[in-house]
Symmetry: C2
Subunit: 243 residues, 2 copies
């Protein structure tokens, strides 16, 4: 059991606080500039709350789960306590990494046990502590190197944000023709189902994969938005060039 | 119960033949240039098989489930029988459409009941027949117009082939850094899980959504492949411009 101070009150802080609390760790304090949110979160996990970083209490370590661009400044103000942040991309001297590789949304419940946690620290004693804490809430815990973490974060943007953007585009195209996005869900689900047991490259299908230039041209003609045409062309070229 | 002739012996023909047969329709004949595959498929669904289109038997109608670029020529050789093809994009005078909106892979079992079938025909009697046949194998049957079908096919390329390409890219990036694609699967699954009950636009996350230019630049620096940089930039710009 560890005594933890959590800085932040957004989605990641919220999910982490609950997971740590339920795993039997003690949340000593929730610190966030958002007084209402930090107080609400603190109450749920039986913690003290404050908006003032100067009033930080004693604990085993601190987890900073806030926006990437604010992490460095907050970390610089914490003294005499080991600190880890939850960012996939930020690198800070003297801060360890406790990065949950998942997309967290407000109010969308999540099975934290299946979330991969990527841990690294120069201080190997602290790293062992963080690895054990991660293992107490998740079954997928990895010690990864600095450069690996950044590539992982980049790959996650492709696999999650960019694939989701393809759904955004599909939804918009359908809406213009009075079609419901619902009709595409079985296809989307099957596409993801296939890659559970196959390499994505091995199960690629479609006109670009078949080098069916006639269909590709028909599609380009259907797209009246220049930006969408460009997205279509760039990804199609990528697939066309594959062996 | 309908008497059906199936032209083709690929993935779509294979899945359709089994679904129709199991729903109690009679597969009269399987016609395909691939003698071995058509004979094997015909045997499984208790049908006659031939490689010669001239030897076509009598039936209620014909389903042409072959490559897009060969459909017109095959349809032109069928006389005195109603014909439907399974393409999402091809338009042929005198041929109805019986388009299953799904990605079919050899040997990957599929719940055909959940596959959306898009049906259209100028001959409204034949259209009713096709709608009923579709309803006998699937719970999601839609009568759609010509122009809607093409947009649907285009949207499906974004939602399935292009989202899969994002996984292909992610897998390659990870492989270069000795990381296993496995680590991204919980994230990918959660991304798709979210859109089951939310609009993709409403649940978009990531650096472009947050307008986090610092992270975007870090990512671009990590990409040493000019083509991948371009893919990243084009999709990121698309997300940045969204409200």
């Amino acid at each position: 059991m560890q005594k933890v101070i959590l800085i932040g009150s957004g989605n990641v802080a919220d999910h982490l606080a609950h997971a740590l609390y339920e795993a039997g760790h003690q949340i000593i304090q929730v610190i966030s500039q958002n007084k209402k949110k930090s107080a609400a979160l603190a109450q749920k996990v039986n913690a003290n709350s404050t908006t003032d970083l100067e009033k930080i209490k004693k604990a085993d370590f601190v987890i900073v789960a806030i926006n990437d661009d604010a992490i460095a400044q907050v970390v610089s103000k914490i003294h005499n306590l080991p600190v880890a942040h939850t960012s996939g991309i930020v690198s800070i001297e003297n801060a360890a990494v406790f990065y949950p590789l998942q997309t967290f949304s407000k109010g969308v419940p999540l099975d934290i046990k299946s979330v991969p946690f990527c841990v690294s620290s120069k201080d190997k004693v602290f790293e062992t502590t963080l690895l054990n804490v991660a293992k107490s809430i998740s079954s997928r815990v990895f010690q990864i190197e600095e450069n690996q973490r950044k590539i992982l974060h980049l790959a996650a943007v492709f696999a999650s944000n960019f694939s989701n953007q393809m759904y955004v585009i599909a939804e918009r195209l359908l809406a213009k023709s009075d079609l419901d996005f619902e009709i595409l869900k079985p296809l989307i689900n099957e596409t993801v189902n296939k890659i559970q047991t196959n390499s994505p490259q091995a199960v690629q299908t479609g006109p670009a994969k078949r080098k069916d230039l006639e269909t590709i041209n028909t599609h380009l003609d259907l797209l009246d938005d220049e930006e969408l045409k460009n997205v279509y062309q760039v990804i199609t070229n990528q697939i066309l060039k594959q062996k």
